[in-house]
């Protein structure tokens, strides 16, 4: 099907529609927003499938380079077949969206590929800048570039969207290069019920802290990782949800380089971990949207601002033992990432600045599933009875799920 718009534009248009529907007369139109969410899902799937295809290709190149450079490829690189972005059976409700294999998708969306390529190039630039900064002290948090692997290589792999730091399909243990066994964290925006475009919005490499990292979740992982914010039902179910759907960075033998970007949808804190350094609030604008959480070793990740040194060698051993539980404590939250989000979103829709912060909230809400959308339906009286008032607000919020967050956000 020819479409004049690429996936990214569709996503931003769709989000705008959803946002504006909240203020339309007569209340939220459930039907229309449901249909828009389908477009979001479709666009996102295509976008991701293309990103992975791109990544996979780059990874292949990288592999070849490295094998020439380094002798013992002590990492068995698993070339997992690039899977079509079909949905696992558990999402039968939404129906498998057969977008075809990566190749087909690419062939069919040249515009999207071009966009991807541009993004990649921009990201490369960005990373090179970061590398410069990294070489000079004052690491600006997530601005630190990948150490270890050559910047180019890191860059290539860093292109993998933070949100794409998915669990490897079928729980295959990661066998890549020394890589941060960084958990994508509970916040992983991607693996959520289909209408979850948050992932994509995180991914813009041009945003100030957009150091997305191809962090490979360790083999065992996912469900627990997602379970770490005690609350949100959507993330909890999602990693398994998407398991097997997408090839994970780990499958590409991702470098340990660079960073993992993780967004915690419950606390709205974005954390980046790069090379074992845990950064939060690293952005000039107070909060970095691209921080991830890592569990680079035994024990849970530490609290805000704590940096952990991390040895590449350690990773390999760790990653095998690691399980999702290592993800550890979620970063103390509450920090709104809106400012960084705004920058990012505006890259997508330059003319949406007044709503951008709302939209960023919307994105995070949406990342929690469709219910965030319908939270304003005049139906709250029919929701399950609210929790015991004795629970602390945060817990209450967390356990009530996305729709409550939506109400809070607005």
């Amino acid at each position: 099907m020819e479409c004049a718009l690429d996936a990214q534009s569709l996503i931003s248009i769709s989000l705008r529609k959803i946002h504006s529907s909240r203020t339309q007369r007569g209340g939220i139109k459930l039907h229309k927003n449901l249909l828009v969410s389908y477009v979001l899902r479709n666009a996102r799937q295509l976008y991701l499938s293309e990103r992975y295809a791109e990544l996979y290709r780059r990874q292949q190149q990288q592999q070849q380079q490295q094998q020439q450079q380094q002798q013992p490829p002590h990492h068995q690189h698993q070339h997992l077949a690039y899977a079509a972005p079909g949905m696992p059976a558990s999402t039968a409700d939404f129906g498998p969206l057969q977008l075809g294999g990566g190749g087909d998708a690419e062939a069919r969306e040249p515009a999207a590929r071009h966009q991807l390529h541009q993004l990649h190039q921009l990201h490369q630039l960005h990373l090179q800048q970061q590398l410069h900064q990294h070489q000079h002290p004052a690491p600006r948090g997530c601005a630190a570039a990948a150490a270890g692997a050559p910047a180019g290589g890191a860059g290539a792999l860093s292109e993998l969207p933070g949100c794409a730091a998915l669990q490897p399909p079928h729980g295959a243990p990661h066998r890549g290069q020394p890589l941060e066994p960084l958990q994508p964290g509970p916040a992983l925006p991607l693996p959520l019920p289909p209408p979850a475009p948050a992932a994509l919005c995180l991914r813009d490499p041009r945003a100030s802290a957009a150091c997305s990292a191809p962090s490979a979740p360790p083999g065992a992982t996912p469900p627990a990782a997602a379970a770490s914010p005690p609350a949100s039902p959507a993330p909890a179910s999602s990693p398994g949800f998407y398991r097997g759907a997408y090839p994970a960075p780990s499958d590409f033998g991702v470098h340990c380089s660079s960073q993992t970007t993780v967004l915690d949808l419950d606390t709205h804190v974005v954390t980046t971990v790069e090379n074992g350094y845990l950064h939060q609030d690293c952005c000039a604008s107070a909060h970095c949207p691209c921080c991830g959480q890592g569990a680079p070793g035994p024990g849970p990740a530490s609290t805000t601002g704590c940096k952990r040194k991390y040895y590449p060698g350690q990773e390999e051993e760790d990653e095998d033992e690691e399980d999702a539980g290592d993800l550890g404590a979620e970063p103390p939250g509450g920090a709104p990432f809106a400012p960084c989000k705004r920058a990012r979103f505006e890259d997508f829709c330059p003319d949406s600045s007044p709503d951008a912060s709302n939209i960023s909230n919307l994105i995070s809400i949406f990342g929690s599933g469709f219910s965030g959308l319908v939270s304003r339906q005049p139906d709250s009286s029919e929701q399950p009875p609210p929790l015991n008032g004795q629970l602390c607000a945060k817990q209450a919020l967390a356990s009530l799920g996305a729709w409550t967050r939506a109400i809070v956000a607005f």
Binding site: M1, C3, L5, L35, P193, F370, S371, G401, A402, W403
Partner: protein
């Protein structure tokens, strides 16, 4: 037979028309608009002096059916737009119709008054009550003719039964009950009882995050008072039998056509959403409208429609821009003619289409003032999809997407159609031979 129609009336209404419906005899035609008003047209009686003149439709009654409301509890404004009007069959001198906005259904009685009682002697000329002591006789008032007055009074208000937006109402063939459908639920009402209704369909999932489809339209079977159908945003139709259980969540029949994978696109879900479903007068078929097609289904065959008609397939390559400008969400209705041989539906550029099911011929007509002289024959229109455009053709890119015909109605027995084009109501009638 498909013939070119001549126009009888074009009426400019004060607001955008949101629904059009003939009553069961075709004598009356009701329109609802975005401002909550109902305008009823009545067909002139044919007079012996003017046998060549078919009865024209003139305004018969106008009233404000719904007002905008504000739900303070939920901070929601409730639009007054009339979503649907359905007539009840006439059982006495008065006419009854149901009209609904997003939340409230009302039963209106429309009745005529052409006589007035006169001759009361209990009041003086100024209308003041006379002192009873001065009254010595009681005069019986006499009915005297007066100018015809048509009054509409709300007889029932069926409120507070829908959480979501009402999209359909349908009168049951028992004439005692009717149903109202919103995005997730269908309620069954008795006309006499306004403070309760039965919920007969509920597709709301336990967890709204799992919502995958909504109800888009619903209708009772024309003869079997236990049977109804409802369509979904996923392009499926369910037929339910109320005798089977109180809650008809489990359908008796399920109509779905498998998707054509070669047509897959970003917008597949949107264009497969059914915007209207209508039983044929015979009750044997149902017709559904989705964004690009009209389909006719045989009730006895669930796995695919028996007929599919392309309304404006040239829009398939434009879905992206139609998504951007929201046109892809337009909900077109569809109608049967009295004999179920022709179906009609609207399109853009004020075009509407008719399909003859027997001859398989179709025609595109336009509702426009410029092309519509009182006795003119409607000229068929054609959209040029590519290549060289012929003289009278219009190219896809020239179509005016702000001029859409969403609502049409067909007289129950004659070849008279009503077409709503934004604020204009066109009534076309067959040429008199």
């Amino acid at each position: 037979k498909l013939r070119h129609h001549s126009i009888t009336t074009v009426t400019l209404l004060p607001d955008i028309i949101s629904t059009v419906e003939f009553n069961h005899t075709g004598e009356l035609l009701a329109t609802g608009d975005k401002g909550g008003r109902v305008v009823i047209f009545q067909r002139e009686q044919e007079s012996k002096n003017q046998i060549h003149r078919r009865g024209e439709y003139n305004v018969y009654s106008t009233f404000q059916s719904h007002e905008p409301e504000f739900d303070y509890l939920k901070s929601l404004e409730i639009e007054e737009k009339i979503n649907k009007i359905r007539w009840l069959p006439q059982q006495n001198a008065a006419y009854f119709l149901l009209s609904t906005n997003d939340k409230t259904v009302k039963l209106w009685k429309v009745s005529e008054r052409d006589k007035r009682p006169e001759g009361y002697n209990l009041k003086d000329e100024e209308g003041r009550l006379r002192d009873p002591a001065t009254i010595t006789t009681l005069r019986v008032p006499v009915l005297r003719p007066m100018d015809l007055m048509v009054e509409a009074t709300p007889r029932r208000v069926f409120a507070n039964a829908h959480t979501y937006h009402i999209n359909s109402i349908s009168v049951n063939s028992d004439y005692e009950t009717y149903m109202s459908a919103d995005d997730l639920r269908i309620n069954l009402w008795n006309f006499e009882i306004t403070n309760q209704s039965f919920n007969i369909v509920d597709i709301k999932p336990a967890n709204m995050e799992e919502l995958t489809e909504v109800i888009t339209a619903a209708e009772f079977h024309p003869h079997h008072c236990n049977t109804f159908v409802y369509s979904s945003s996923k392009g499926t139709i369910r037929l339910c039998d109320m005798r089977a259980s109180a809650l008809c969540d489990r359908h008796t029949k399920f109509f779905e056509e498998p998707e054509d994978p070669s047509n897959r696109s970003f917008f597949s879900e949107i264009i497969s959403s059914i915007s209207d479903v209508k039983f044929s007068h015979s009750g044997r078929y149902i017709m559904t409208r989705d964004y690009l097609t009209v389909k006719v289904w045989d009730l006895n065959m669930e796995n695919r429609p028996i007929e599919t008609y392309q309304v404006h397939d040239y829009l398939r390559s434009k879905l992206c821009s139609l998504y951007e400008n929201d046109c892809i969400f337009d909900k077109f209705e569809c109608v049967w003619n009295g004999s179920d041989s022709v179906i009609m539906t609207g399109s853009y550029n004020n075009f509407f289409r008719m399909f003859d099911r027997n001859t398989k011929r179709d025609v595109t007509l336009e509702a426009s003032r410029e092309n519509s002289k009182p006795r003119a024959i409607l000229k068929p229109r054609k959209v040029c999809v590519g290549g060289k455009r012929r003289k009278d053709e219009i190219s896809v890119d020239s179509l005016d997407f702000s001029k859409k015909i969403l609502h049409t109605a067909w007289h129950p027995s004659e070849n008279i159609i009503a077409v709503a084009a934004t604020n204009n109501l066109y009534i076309f009638q067959d040429k008199v031979n």
